[in-house]
Symmetry: C2
Subunit: 404 residues, 2 copies
Amino acid sequence: MATVQTSEAALDTLLNRGVVDAVVRTDLERMLQSGKPLRIKFGVDPSRPDLHLGHAVGFRKIRQFQELGHHVIVIIGDWTARIGDPSGRSDTRQMLSAEKVHANAQTYLDQMGKIVDVDKIEVAWQTSWFEDFSLEDVVRLCAKYTVNRMLDRDDFATRYKGGQAVSVVEFLYPLLQAYDSVAIEADVELGGTDQYFNFQVARDIMPAHGQPPQQFLTWPLLVGTDGTRKMSKSYDNYVAITDEPNDMYGKVMSLSDDVMRDYFETLTDIPVGVLDEMFGEMEAERRNPRDVKAELAREIVTQFHDEAAAGAAEAEFVRMFRQRALPTDIPEIPLDSALQEAQTIVDALIAANLATSRSDARRLVQQGGVRLDNTRITDTNTPYTAKPGQIFQVGKRKFGKVAG
Amino acid sequence: MATVQTSEAALDTLLNRGVVDAVVRTDLERMLQSGKPLRIKFGVDPSRPDLHLGHAVGFRKIRQFQELGHHVIVIIGDWTARIGDPSGRSDTRQMLSAEKVHANAQTYLDQMGKIVDVDKIEVAWQTSWFEDFSLEDVVRLCAKYTVNRMLDRDDFATRYKGGQAVSVVEFLYPLLQAYDSVAIEADVELGGTDQYFNFQVARDIMPAHGQPPQQFLTWPLLVGTDGTRKMSKSYDNYVAITDEPNDMYGKVMSLSDDVMRDYFETLTDIPVGVLDEMFGEMEAERRNPRDVKAELAREIVTQFHDEAAAGAAEAEFVRMFRQRALPTDIPEIPLDSALQEAQTIVDALIAANLATSRSDARRLVQQGGVRLDNTRITDTNTPYTAKPGQIFQVGKRKFGKVAG
């Protein structure tokens, strides 16, 4: 059997950098130093295949385990995705066809492959053990866990105490996810901090299945580009793994300063000592935050594309924003009847697909985020007449040019 | 299709005599008067086949439905009995073999046949629908019910609030029992008051399976011969359905006066008007409670045996207790070494198997319940010497005669 060599430095990075919880830390250290390749579990929800830098934080941690020689098993939650949420409580848990689930899983793995060596991972499908799971299996699984502990989970506790409904099936799902660990005999599970409770459930039930409790690591949930909420497609504060270099660079440059350090720690390999120095200089005002952010943007674009693309994106960004120039590739707005019939700037923004609703359009104008041919418009009643070649700008980075 | 005629009097007896809850009463009345034969569900736990008068209360209600022409479906909870209680919380839910479960079920039906026409019932085995129940079926079932409602159940609420464990599997069982109603398309379920919550769960989930909610009736849990706790084998306060006439008669005669009326209402057909008169005379002290109890004992022995047996049991009882004579058939106590070596009355009671422990023996003596050759012994240190033909009496009805 291959053995795994782990230096003190590698161990330190593995267990401390970009890590929130290491449970149980001393057991993890011992296992990682034992030389035995460990079975590393990572669960994937194939109903959400749109990945962003928040996922990349996890993928980078998975790669660290892979690089040390551990065996990574990616569990595709295909069974759960196909069932959806029959209580109808969750919008994100729609029932999906087997074909859709498989297509999503492939998309997920393709994106994961930008960071993780997917040729070396083992892919395990939940359905392979849940398809023939009998009622007796369910009963034995549920007998291993108490309602009391289930209701310790913050989410359940808050809703239960607040008189909001918690479906019995919601008690079943953490147990099924925990059973995944039994099915693959996981040594260590990896995931975001939102998985802490579920990972703990797995620890609790594994001994009843004759297995030692798994250890686990959680990583932080990355804050989105708005600097407040966690990165998520639904908050529109995300940098997609598949974003083009210019978009990716521009979105990173729109980050608020106070989350930069987290991005450096979780999304780059720059040593902590170097980061300390960099941020020390920034705080002493010997270094411009914008330059620090540019270094982050270059690092990230290089990872997902390459150095050349990062250099080009930077050049384009500098041209556009420092020099207030227009970007070189403005999307075209068709000069259709809707645009021609628009009476006001608000009508025009909707016709041009630059606002999602009248209230959105009004808000954008009132906040001073709208320019027409480089003139800022702040009155929502400003009359509008469509002309070929007209240039709309909404916010810092959204442009449109009327066709013709 | 056969139609069912229900007189006002029959309806009144069905819904009011020996009934605690009728849910929903108005719907039940309408259904019972519709002329349609109803599907009546009655669930049986084949892990407890020792039946007593408490069960007979229910069987009599079932017979009333049967006599009106309704279709009774007895569900044997064989699936649950075979699984037992995997959380290990319940002593009574040991895992049983399929053979044992089938033997128990047959014993149960044999005893039930003393009251119910078992040729006319349909026997349904839970396993026939739970054997192939998939994880998806479980998930869909659990999605129909909330943790909030589950924790409304008194038993769960008390334990949860008191910090005692409630296993997740305990939330599954009421849902499985409720699914039984779906499987057989029950119109009405019958059972003891302890089933109220479970019957309600069935009402709640049936509409999600495209069926109208079942109605239900509950009967009171009969108080045991001790006059305080519910009748149960484990409290040793029961009259078994299979008891011999003399035992059955004697046990009924040992009832406390204040539970007699419940026994008459739930275990005899004597009209309420007649009972009112009988108990009115007893309260006015124109009638001896012992005579009223003798009538009850005769009624009950006649039901489970016949009138001749009831008459003989009464004669024996009168001879023994009114005349303080010894019973005609005293069990023999072997004159073995243990008895010969007994030094005190306490030693002797244990050696003769008339007390379960030294503390039990001491308590019996101190309470004045022990006689040796018709002499009451109240000092626990009374010396004892074994003699052939010696007669022990413990309490009113336990006797033993030393062999030889």
